[in-house]
């Protein structure tokens, strides 16, 4: 059976690329450690495919007909989207896709009662996919990318329980539907606290972020499901913080594993709390 060999949650704030040089050394160190360690351990896990869950920032669908999970089934994924280039200021990239796995995911999740949507064309990627690609050099690796753009901001959106249930179905899909010996990496892209476009544009909720990272690293799923509601995410930054829901399919898929974080930054100029977690898949809590 196929196997999940890597799982990590990472931030995708565009400023970690575009404003990195202006950041203080301690903040730069958090960004560098988080992404360098994620890239190193991802490579060491030797995945064939990386399924990346990430918030869709209203870049692919009208708000009146908004999919909760949009699978990118293209053979290649180019970005960033034209409009977003000056915003993020990163290199252009083309990452390998895997149409067969993407279509299998669409079919498999549908059969497991999870409504997803799939498109064969190149989706519009902003920071959601572009930051993981360029910071982890996915476009320079042989890892094939399957993006799943998630609705974390257009109400009503799937809450933490639904996203966790998606993860259960995802684990079953990987185990039973993918080719034998396929090695699968899972990435959750988004967070931490921020309020893009809101009155609290410059506020970061450091207490919330640190509590969330602690729950993730300790593998405390009871807390993650009980204490981190959409209402509380909104209180920590409306329209942005709920991007951490893109980590929940991973949590549901891997179970109560402990994880490691590589520091935290609440530097206001990033307008987003920065921190990530790599889970130790061999450390399931009893």
């Amino acid at each position: 059976m196929a196997e999940i060999v890597f799982a990590a949650g990472i931030p995708h704030a565009p400023a970690v690329v575009g404003q990195f040089e202006q950041a203080p050394p301690d903040v730069q160190a958090v960004v560098t450690r988080t992404f360098r360690e994620t890239a190193r351990r991802l490579t060491a896990a030797r995945p064939h495919v990386a399924i990346v869950f990430a918030n869709d920032h209203l870049s692919n669908s009208r708000v009146r007909s908004y999919p909760d999970f949009l699978i990118g089934a293209a053979e290649r994924h180019a970005g960033p989207h034209e409009w977003f280039k000056p915003w993020i200021g990163c290199r252009d990239y083309v990452a390998k896709g895997d149409a067969a796995v993407a279509k299998a995911l669409f079919r498999g999740m549908t059969r497991r009662g999870i409504r997803m949507t799939a498109r064969n064309e190149n989706l519009n990627f902003d920071d959601n996919i572009s930051v993981p690609v360029v910071m982890l050099d996915l476009d320079r690796s042989d890892i094939r990318l399957v993006p799943v753009l998630q609705n974390c901001t257009v109400p009503p959106y799937p809450d933490q329980h639904r996203c966790y249930a998606v993860g259960h179905a995802l684990a079953d899909f990987v185990a039973h539907d993918l080719p034998q010996d396929m090695r699968v990496a899972l990435l959750g892209s988004g967070g931490l606290s921020h309020e893009p476009g809101g009155a609290r544009y410059y506020r970061i909720d450091e207490d919330f972020d640190r509590e969330f990272l602690a729950a993730c690293t300790s593998g405390d799923h009871r807390s993650l499901l009980r204490d981190f509601t959409p209402e509380r995410m909104d209180a920590a930054g409306m329209g942005g913080t709920a991007e951490i829901l893109a980590w929940y399919p991973l949590l549901g898929a891997i179970g109560e594993c402990r994880g490691e974080s590589f520091g935290y930054s609440g530097w206001p100029n990033f307008r987003c709390g920065i921190g990530g977690v790599i889970w130790d898949l061999g450390s399931k809590r009893q």
Binding site: G18, Q19, R62, H81, E82, P196, G197, Y201, Y202, G239
Partner: protein, 108 residues
């Protein structure tokens, strides 16, 4: 947090379509810079909605139901989206409109 944009969000509002079209269509974006009125004429905007855009009154636009994320992006179409600088002018003006007071971005 008393900010109630979710409760006011209206997916029918034409402003949502306007901002998404500006993201997806570079020619429309160029025309918006050249003649904002010509672009606004293409959309079935409520009178109050159009007035709010013309007067840069984001508080009213949010109360009418624009998605906040798209509201933030509209501010960039109006005031700039500079590479690597975080669109500070747009962000400052947006926050000022929403709060009624000037609160600039923290200095680097």
């Amino acid at each position: 947090m008393a900010w109630e944009a979710w409760h006011r969000f209206d997916p029918n509002l034409a402003s949502n379509d306007l901002v998404q079209d500006l993201k997806w269509d570079p020619q429309l974006r160029a025309l918006f810079k050249q003649s904002e009125a010509a672009v606004l004429d293409r959309y079935d905007l409520l009178p109050a909605e159009r007035k709010a855009i013309e007067e840069r009154d984001f508080k009213t636009l949010y109360e009418l139901g624009i998605h906040p994320y798209l509201g933030g992006q509209l501010s960039r179409f109006i005031w700039g989206n500079e590479a690597g600088k975080g669109a500070v002018t747009a962000a400052n003006n947006l926050v000022a409109s929403l709060t009624g007071s000037r609160k600039d971005a923290p200095a680097s």
